[in-house]
């Protein structure tokens, strides 16, 4: 059952060396504050799972916290991840690449207590199938061969949401992405929210996670870049990050600032 605590305390309780941690959320829902708190915690040997890791994932890789990245999309602004992949800086990065639909299905399987997901598209006929963790499964009724993918069961999911009620029910808000699926697939979940309210008001498309599916909730201030109603194609966050990420020295200075 969800407990509400300070972000640093929640990170201390939930983030451990060697853990598999899922970070989900796009645009205004990127868990920026939680990523910074994790940077301050300085974990080692993290397997980072993120469909589109975004600036938060880029920061954790650039800080050397991540040894393995599971993803489907690397936005152009993410220079730290590319530097790790191509030049091994600050450390080599192992990758496991999937499609967005594959990541979705893998989370859904994990959330559903199943060991694998079945998908039709995205692997067959591509060069991805040969370089990632995928297999085939045959339909026992039609004989069709489909792609099987291993379920994702991260140790921890970290997502940002608009708000929670005092009982710990969380209203995601904004572009849903795969935040809900990651939380339900993970063994534990840390959700940052911008406010805790007496009662959740209905909102179109706002997914609500029941309190029993959330481990910790931490309140964080809404950053200036957060506009839940913003066009999901607005890449302002990424562009601002690109300038820092594009240069090792600028990034190192930025990281020292975050950890100061």
């Amino acid at each position: 059952m969800a407990t509400i605590s300070a972000l640093a305390d929640a990170v201390d309780a939930l983030v451990h060396d060697g853990a598999e941690i899922a970070l989900e959320g796009l645009g205004a829902s990127i868990p920026v504050a939680a990523a910074h708190a994790i940077l301050r915690r300085r974990p080692r040997d993290i397997t980072l799972v993120g469909t589109a890791p975004g600036p938060a994932g880029d920061q954790l890789v650039g800080a050397g916290c991540v040894t393995r990245l599971v993803f489907a999309r690397l936005d152009p602004a993410l220079h730290r991840i590319r530097d790790a992949l191509v030049a091994g800086w600050p450390a080599p990065l192992e990758i496991e690449e999937h499609t967005q639909a594959g990541m979705a299905a893998r989370y859904v399987a994990g959330a559903s207590g199943l060991p694998f997901a079945t998908v039709r598209d995205g692997y067959a006929g591509t060069d991805l199938a040969a370089v990632t963790n995928a297999a085939t499964v045959r339909c026992p009724f039609t004989g069709e061969e489909l792609t099987a993918l291993p379920a994702l069961r991260p140790d921890l999911a970290v997502v940002h949401a608009q708000r929670a009620d005092r009982a710990g029910n969380v209203q995601l808000g904004g572009v849903p992405g795969l935040r809900k699926e990651a939380v339900l697939a993970a063994r534990k979940a840390l959700v940052t929210v911008e406010e805790v309210v007496d009662e959740l008001e209905p909102e179109h498309g706002a997914v609500v996670l029941p309190a029993f599916a959330v481990t910790r909730i931490a309140v964080v201030p809404a950053g200036p870049e957060r506009h839940p109603g913003a066009d999901p194609c607005d890449d302002g966050v990424d562009l601002a990050w690109a300038a820092v990420s594009g240069d090792r020295n600028r990034f190192t200075t930025w990281l020292e600032g975050i950890r100061a």
């Binding site: 796009l26 469909t51 589109a52 993803f71 489907a72 999309r73 690397l74 936005d75 152009p76 590319r82 992949l85 191509v86 690449e97 999937h98 499609t99 967005q100 639909a101 979705a104 299905a105 989370y107 859904v108 998908v119 039709r120 598209d121 995205g122 692997y123 067959a124 006929g125 591509t126 060069d127 991805l128 370089v131 069709e144 061969e145 572009v175 849903p176 992405g177 795969l178 935040r179 809900k180 699926e181 179109h204 498309g205 997914v207 999901p232 194609c233 890449d235």
Partner: protein, 224 residues
């Protein structure tokens, strides 16, 4: 992206259809179509958003399973980094996968759109570096290596029916599945297209010239 490229892509979308378009030029082209000749076009984001219908926004999981894999999408717009003579799309790496010379964005939803959508329109600037005989990595399947391959692998959908660039439009030859130059944009020569294409490009017997953007299209692009 040039206006000409966006309007040319937009015109390939039909009124009443359901299309999926990621962020960037694909989404701009789709919105342009809806603002002009296709007011009944449904524009889905690959993140599960329904353009203009906040109530119907679902997550990326529902988009992938129910809308795309479920066969409810008529047409997908794909932005490519590299395309080859059979319309295969690469957005993964340049060079070898394990030691790439450039690490691109990865599949995102492109691979499932390429086989889940009824047909696909590919968008990219026409440059020699991007138009290669064989892509370095098949991220999103076109015709693979010939006209029978998609069916043999069990892929659904027609795959790319048009590659729209800033120079013109290429479409697959039904017999060979190889891309053929069918239209050039106003002022573009066939030779220029050939010079920017990394394989001996087939050219249609009669190469059309795309209509320039109309005043309404330009206005919609500026507003959108």
């Amino acid at each position: 992206m040039s206006d000409q490229m966006l309007v040319t892509a937009a015109r390939l979308l039909g009124d009443g259809e359901v299309c999926v378009a990621g962020c960037g030029p694909a989404r701009r082209a789709a919105r342009l179509a809806r603002a002009t000749h296709a007011p009944g076009l449904t524009v889905l984001g690959d993140d599960g958003t329904v353009d203009g219908v906040p109530a119907a926004t679902a997550g990326a999981a529902e988009f992938a399973a129910y809308w795309l894999q479920g066969g409810r999408v008529d047409v997908g717009l794909l932005a490519a980094d590299q395309v080859d003579a059979f319309g295969n799309v690469n957005t993964t790496v340049l060079g070898e996968y394990d030691e790439p010379t450039a690490r691109l964005s990865g599949a995102g939803a492109a691979a499932e759109i390429a086989t889940g959508a009824g047909r696909v329109v590919v968008l990219l600037p026409h440059r020699l570096s991007a138009f290669v005989e064989r892509v370095d990595f098949v991220t999103a399947p076109g015709a693979l290596t010939g006209p029978l391959d998609r069916a043999q692998v069990g892929l659904r959908g027609a795959g790319p029916v048009a590659v729209v660039t800033d120079l013109g439009v290429l479409r697959p030859d039904p017999a060979t599945a190889e891309l053929v130059l069918t239209e050039v944009h106003p002022g573009v020569s066939v030779d220029r297209v050939r010079a920017e294409t990394g394989w001996p490009l087939e050219v249609a017997d009669e190469v059309g010239v795309t209509a320039p953007p109309t005043a309404a299209e330009v206005a919609a692009l500026r507003a959108g």
